[in-house]
């Protein structure tokens, strides 16, 4: 497609007519919690919109965020929105490498000065001058300062870019921080999650493309429409919580009946995200629907916020003591051992809580410390 082609023309060329675009706008206004009456305006604006330049920088990350956003099972309009942005620089995807890639970055910045969106995935190491992550000999810190200075807005994609994420986890050897700790003079949208829900990014992009501004954000700079409620508030197992029906282990009768996973460590009551409503893999399901509690991956410092199987009320799930010890021994080996222990351990033989991952004296923001009940009703 050409730089001048409108989104309406591009969609028409790919077989989506005006009604398809209006329907997409209706779904998007619902998703963004906008009044339904805005949909025809959004559709009209989208049809006229031109491509937006996006520069995407990857810092201390695992590429999971990019993977999840690229995986699309069919050519939906949501997916085509990603085609519609002009991704002018992305190290993992672009053909150019080395000096040619750096030249591409400089050209994209110059051609779209003040107008491009800057997308970041990964945290930024600042310890020792930021030497722990370099691209072409330049530190992530230096690149961020340089590229953010001319951006229209910055999208921090994934929990690492938003809050530091796993690289920031105790003891944080690289001094990792999130984008908002370093960029203060540009509008920032945090789209946390490990990985983030792809539809949230498309919602933010659609809002920006159709109205020329970012959607309403909460106090953590997250799009309010997607992060305004907790997983718990939208969870289909919520009625069991209200009735006091809790699974006590992953294979007891309560688990088989689909009861609430609160006592098995579910962090849904303190986790703001859209997993329970938008779900994953084209709306197939989300972790709680697959029988595992929410691990709170879209909240700051989630990795240090206590064991994944420690309930927010401070109790621990039965059958997980050995798994917890295994996990503390080593990350990779521990994960495998935790899985095998889960299968092997007789549930009635393991009463105690797994070890806390939170470093001494550290109380992560937004989390209920052990012994305190979560917001709302106590079990």
């Amino acid at each position: 497609m050409t730089q001048d082609e409108t989104l309406g023309a591009m969609l028409a060329r790919r077989g989506f007519g005006r009604r398809g675009l209006l329907k997409f706008a209706i779904a998007m206004t619902s998703s963004l919690a906008l009044p339904p009456s805005v949909a025809p305006v959004m559709a009209a604006n989208l049809a006229k919109a031109k491509r937006r330049s996006v520069i995407w920088l990857s810092f201390q990350e695992c590429t999971g965020c990019l993977e999840t956003l690229l995986r699309s099972s069919s050519p939906t309009i949501d997916a085509l929105i990603f085609d519609f942005i002009s991704l002018d620089y992305q190290e993992s995807l672009m053909a150019a490498a080395g000096a040619a890639a750096e030249q591409t970055l400089r050209e994209a910045m110059a051609a779209n000065k003040g107008e491009y969106l800057l997308a970041i995935d990964g945290s930024i190491p600042v310890k020792d001058g930021g030497v722990y992550s370099l691209t072409g000999g330049r530190s992530n810190l230096s690149m961020l300062e340089d590229v953010a200075a001319e951006a229209k807005a910055v999208l921090a994609i994934g929990t690492c870019a938003a809050y530091g994420g796993i690289p920031k986890a105790y003891p944080n050897p690289t001094g990792a921080v999130g984008v908002e700790d370093l960029v203060s003079n540009k509008p920032i949208v945090n789209i946390p999650g490990c990985p983030p829900v792809p539809e949230v990014l498309s919602g933010v992009l659609v809002h920006f493309i159709s109205f020329g501004r970012l959607p309403e954000l909460d106090d953590r700079k997250r799009p309010l429409a997607y992060f305004g409620t907790t997983i718990h508030d939208q969870c289909y197992r919520r009625p069991f919580y209200d009735q006091g029906k809790f699974a006590k282990s992953f294979d007891d009768e309560g688990a088989r009946q689909g009861w609430c996973l609160f006592e098995l460590g579910c962090k849904g009551p303190v986790t703001h995200n859209a997993c329970a409503s938008l779900k994953w893999n084209g709306g197939t399901s989300f972790p709680i629907e697959a029988g595992h509690g929410c691990i709170g991956c879209s909240e700051p410092d989630f990795w240090d916020a206590g064991g994944f199987y420690t309930s927010l009320a401070g109790g621990s799930a039965t059958g997980w003591k050995n798994a917890g010890i295994a996990a503390a021994v080593g990350l990779a080996g521990g994960a495998a051992a935790a899985l095998s222990t889960r299968i092997k351990t007789p549930l009635e033989d393991a009463p105690a809580s797994p070890p806390e991952k939170t470093p001494p004296g550290k109380s992560p923001p937004g989390k209920s410390p052990p012994g305190k009940s979560p917001p709302g009703k106590s079990p």
């Binding site: 989506f16 007519g17 005006r18 009604r19 398809g20 209006l22 329907k23 997409f24 209706i26 779904a27 206004t29 619902s30 919690a33 009044p35 339904p36 009456s37 949909a39 025809p40 099972s73 069919s74 050519p75 939906t76 309009i77 084209g282 709306g283």
Partner: protein, 146 residues
């Protein structure tokens, strides 16, 4: 413990019915259309079913195939439409109660109408014969060249 949740459902349904009545008054008095985003409300499936059942189903139904299937029907109250939009995978992406003489998505767009009007004369016998002659002439030319 007695479960009183059905009372909350009934109250929500009553509130929505009064909101629809207000939107209908605006349509009648000012010609303004309106819509309620059903999926955006904290309604239980039973509450949605109750509301849909109370509003009923009249004689007009429409099915749209545009980026997935959409099903639209007029309720038992003229001007009140129940619309369900699914995406290409059949997943429900929007459910609206629209208050309008005709839902916006069913109306033909003026630009599309103009393009259609330009294409339509090509269906006349004269045009079809002319095109047939062109095709025959081209085929004859290809045979001659061979």
């Amino acid at each position: 413990m007695t479960d009183f949740s059905f009372l909350a459902d009934d109250a929500l349904v009553d509130a929505l019915i009064m909101e629809i009545a207000g939107l209908l008054r605006r349509l009648i008095e000012h010609g303004e259309t309106g819509a309620i985003d059903v999926l955006g409300l904290p309604l239980s499936p039973s509450c949605v079913a109750s509301l849909e059942q109370r509003l009923g189903h009249a004689e007009v139904s429409a099915r749209l195939d545009a980026a997935g299937v959409s099903e639209i029907h007029e309720t038992g109250f003229p001007g009140v439409w129940w619309t369900r939009h699914s995406n290409e995978q059949g997943r429900l992406i929007a459910m609206l109660i629209e208050v309008a003489f005709v839902p916006e998505i069913l109306k033909a767009n003026i630009a599309d109408v103009i393009r259609g009007a330009e294409r339509l004369p090509a269906l006349t016998n004269v045009a079809l014969q002319a095109r047939g002659n062109d095709v025959a002439l081209q085929a004859r030319g290809r045979r001659a060249a061979a």
